[in-house]
């Protein structure tokens, strides 16, 4: 039923798309992690202004589609004179998006650390900033890791949306090849396979990290 010849022939092209997917994912993942941790800390800060700014960021991102966010960044920002190019627009859009979800995961981790940890730290004379950095965050990260892992995996799949801003990643590669070969099943199956490889690899790496962080 499947046309194996076609699949073998076109696989390298899809692989090329997967490489771009991977590259975008890695950048967005790192940036999104920074956004997430910053927003989580701001949302727990004592300053009501910072707190509501972080709350607004999380709310607006989580309540609108990524597609629209990408569109506004790529097509909208240049109208304000800011042109990031498609690669960095894609990375920024994805990072802002995953950042909001990461923020909630990390905030959940932070508030899951028993309050006795902060009290013990303060009673040793640590400033709240030092206690956060040395005592609370390391424990919070471990609690948040499974959620963060979920977000990473969703991110990898969401990269398919950057095809709307001219980036030829894995999904778009498949679609282009469908356009010339008219073999949708073969192409989508290969794309699905490559996504599964990327996400499964990520899961495995995260499983390792989780084991490492266990204490």
């Amino acid at each position: 039923m499947l046309d194996w010849g076609i699949m073998v022939h076109y696989f390298p092209f899809l692989l090329q798309g997967a490489v771009l997917t991977l590259k975008i994912s890695v950048f967005a993942l790192i940036l999104g992690f920074i956004f997430g941790i910053s927003a989580a800390l701001l949302k727990l800060s004592k300053n009501p202004l910072l707190r509501s700014a972080a709350g607004f960021y999380i709310w607006i991102i989580r309540s609108t589609p990524l597609l629209v966010q990408l569109f506004l960044i790529y097509f909208g920002l240049p109208q304000l004179g800011i042109d990031l190019g498609s690669f960095f627009s894609g990375v920024l859009g994805l990072a802002l998006n995953i950042g909001a979800y990461n923020a909630e995961a990390i905030r959940g981790g932070i508030i899951s650390v028993p309050s006795g940890q902060m009290e013990a730290s303060r009673s040793l004379g640590m400033s709240s900033r030092l206690a956060m950095r040395r005592i609370i965050l390391p424990q919070a990260m471990r609690i948040a890791l499974p959620s963060l892992g979920n977000n990473f995996i969703i991110l990898i799949k969401d990269t398919s949306l950057v095809s709307t801003i001219t980036l030829v990643e894995l999904t778009l590669t498949a679609q282009r090849l469908i356009g010339s070969t008219y073999k949708p099943f073969e192409m989508y199956l290969m794309a699905a396979f490559l996504y599964a490889v990327l996400t499964t690899a990520t899961s495995l790496v995260l499983g390792r990290v989780e084991k490492r962080m266990a204490y």
């Binding site: 097509f75 240049p78 109208q79 042109d83 498609s86 095809s163 709307t164 001219t166 030829v168 778009l172 679609q175 282009r176 469908i178 356009g179 010339s180 008219y182 949708p184």
Partner: protein, 232 residues
């Protein structure tokens, strides 16, 4: 067999993207209309059934036909060797061609000036392949629709784009798009109504309907109404 099914249902469904004015698009009442739509409906009428347009994404339009999600594609699809390998086409129902468009103050004067430039095309169209084969050093960017490419030309992220001549011309006329036509047609395209392979009865019925329309003036009326020219 295709034709009998259609007659039994009393309905002929044909698909298009709905994002390709003036051939197919939604009007200010949010109904799908345009040249393709009226042609499709007229064809259905002549077969003795009602025609019903179905909008779908261009990426999946052929897959949908193969999966029998609709009877025809009447959405400005060019007849190509590649496509003929997997689906069948009626006789051409209009002609147009690939045209280069650039910003109206651009210094691009002909296709020769395009070497090494950034060129936009819509995803999955015949233009992408042509540009790839014929323009040296071009950097190709793919978009989901013509409006995106107009924006991109305005902000200078692409230097020019290739699309259907009539589509671009209408955007300039009706939407004041800041574009100009560059040079003549790159090549001519003949658009057909696509259907599944192995349906000679359906194909004959569609072809006969098209021929009748061309003969009795119906076609010309539709074409003048939407395109301002007779596009046969």
């Amino acid at each position: 067999e295709g034709l009998d099914d259609v007659k039994k249902k009393g309905e002929l469904t044909f698909s298009l993207t709905g994002q390709y004015p003036p051939f197919n698009f939604v009007d200010d009442k949010n109904t799908v209309t345009g040249f393709d739509v009226e042609i499709g409906k007229a064809v259905a009428e002549r077969i003795g059934v009602t025609g019903k347009p179905v909008t779908t994404a261009w990426d999946g339009i052929i897959a949908g036909l193969i999966a029998s999600k609709y009877d025809l594609i009447c959405g400005s699809m060019a007849i190509t060797e590649q496509r003929l390998k997997s689906i069948d086409f009626s006789d051409p129902y209009y002609r147009s061609g690939a045209q280069i468009f650039a910003g109206n103050s651009s210094d691009i004067g002909s296709s020769a000036d395009l070497d090494g430039k950034k060129i936009g095309v819509t995803l999955g169209t015949t233009y992408e392949q042509w540009v790839r084969e014929n323009i040296k050093g071009a950097e190709i960017k793919t978009y989901k629709g013509v409006p995106d490419m107009i924006l991109e030309t305005a902000t200078g992220r692409i230097d020019a784009f290739v699309t259907d001549k009539i589509v671009g011309a209408m955007a300039i006329r009706d939407k004041n798009a800041p574009l100009k036509l560059v040079g003549g047609l790159l090549y001519e395209e003949r658009m057909g109504i696509a259907m599944l392979k192995g349906n000679p009865k359906l194909k004959n019925a569609v072809n006969k309907a098209l021929a009748d329309m061309k003969n009795d003036g119906t076609y010309e009326k539709i074409s003048m109404k939407w395109l301002g020219i007779d596009a046969r």
